[in-house]
Amino acid sequence: MTIADQVTGSTIAGTAKPVEARPEPRSAAPAVTLPAIGERELRLDLFRGLALWLIFVDHLPPSLLTWFTIRNYGFSDATEIFIFISGYTAAFVYGRAMLESGFVIATARILRRVWQIYVAHVFLFTIFLAEISYVATSFENPLYTEEMGIMDFLKQPDVTIVQALLLRFRPVNMDVLPLYIVLMLALPLILWSMKWRPDVTLALSVVLYAVTWEFDLYFSAYPNGFWAFNPLAWQLLFVFGAWCALGGARRMSRILASPVTMWIAIAYVVAAFYVTLTWYVPQLSHLMPKRLEQWMYPIDKTDLDVLRFTHFLALAALIVRFLPRDWPGLKSAWLRPLILCGQHSLEIFCLGVFLAFAGHFILAEVSGGAAMHALISLSGILIMWGVAWVISWYKRVADKSGAKTKNAVGNADLAGGG
């Protein structure tokens, strides 16, 4: 029996095989379907791997490869995928821990994970400092005297580094991990509330999102401004992911299976594609009604614009519909690299940020040609794959030779838990 069907109830198969989706007997709270351990949900790994690759490519200067990233075809981008799947898998892993071992133990494990992410962030910051210090001392093109003002923070490292440790000072492209840290810190509360009433929790999350928009709440940053990803808004995707993991997706399966949903989703995705097209083909822009433009723009990434969120929902609905979880392609060797990367998301994410720094550096120091650019993008992806493979291999070996006590429950990475 594949008890994993419960976890992955987002599939259409969930309706087709209701017999298998019986409630987990140990479930203490009837409101929550206990996530079960079983076969991995490869679609999650696949799309998280994809998100990691896309984030890497998007962090490099634009090139031919950039045209393959989804942000050019609609409102949402890889960040949405990453945060949603992170919410899903985090709830999957730690939700189970909470039901089995209780609130305190689960919280302790979540905090341990938060610590890992925090250390990873500080590590990346150190690399960034090294890069920026180098550029500051070696680059004196008079064309860019003004832009070099960004180096001013190097003049007071005492303040800057402390602010960085407080997550208030964050260089460009290093905004995702702090967001993730805050969301994970809130996870015990989210899970505890989900255990009580999942729907109410989701509703509260929507309320927080609405309040954030209404009253313009934000996390302040150093030296000024605010967090590039507002956790108060982005929590909606995270909580929604958690809600889906804890049975919500299964309950939604009828809606997802309906052709009406499908056509709405298709229409929305096509419309979003058209709007995006007008950004790149300015000749088309006069076909856009001015009214609509004024209502629509700017599409705000910081506060997770509703247009972005709905675009993600539409994409997700289509994917769930057209890519069944037992699709044989998921086991094919071609998708293996993506899935491997998705299974070790924290490590590969950090690696991707580092590789993007390194790529910039090479482009700047060695040569900036298109061929070099393509080479950097491709080798970056190959390195990510290689490292993911090594981590998998090591885990397999360690699991085999190591403690037999290690069961699936203790393994935060089972579902790529973070």
Binding site: P61, V135, E140, L143, Y144, T145, E146, P282, Q283
Partner: protein, 259 residues
Amino acid sequence: MKAKVLLSLVLLCGNLAAPLARAGDAAPTAPAAPPACELPSYLLTTESQLPKVADAIKAGKPLEILVIGSRSTTIPASEDSSYPARMQAILRDRLLPSEAVHVSVEIQSKKTAEEAAATFVKLMEAKKPTLVIWQTGTVDAIRAIDPDDFRGAVTEGVSALQNAGADVVLMNLQYSPRTETMISVPPYLDNMRVVAQEHDVPLFDRFAIMRQWNDQGQFDLFSPSRGPELAKQVHDCLGRALAQFVIDAAHLGPAGQQN
């Protein structure tokens, strides 16, 4: 539309003939754009117009242009080679009578859009320009000013300039590949585009233009060179592009042009 095609053809021919003239680049009235400045026409097209500039030229009145910008509007120690000076040279060359074009520059270094906008009323009283070219966004991006606040400030600034009776052109940030990992530029570009759209103001997309040059290999903007040559060449091309942009937006077209 036809006029535009014709114009681009004329320009293209000018460009083909340009290598001969290239040696005399430093001269204040270089006749045609050097090939390095070539741009696809969509980067220099705008739907918004500059009616006051058009009126001034038609009425034969002097054209007073004020460039308000931050430090990227100048080249340290080479003011005469910066894009406002180059634009003045090109405009004088193209528009008759030549002495009727005057460009003045107001540098507000290290000022955000909000801080700059606060000075506009007084500035406009003093200078009374027909056209204001406002280059902004860089300081805000460096200081990571809230993009919403930035948009508000640009909106206020544009309104103040328009209320003072001038046409306005907005100019966005430089493309600076070396600092791309350090400065988050996109929100500021987006918000300037929004304000330009809302106020029907032409936006001179300096960012896209410079990126085009870098991508096509006309300029290596990654270059760490300390000498002013690259900056001078880029500003020369920017000045030409800006002059062309103003001529197009004011529909001065081939009629008012001396090519």
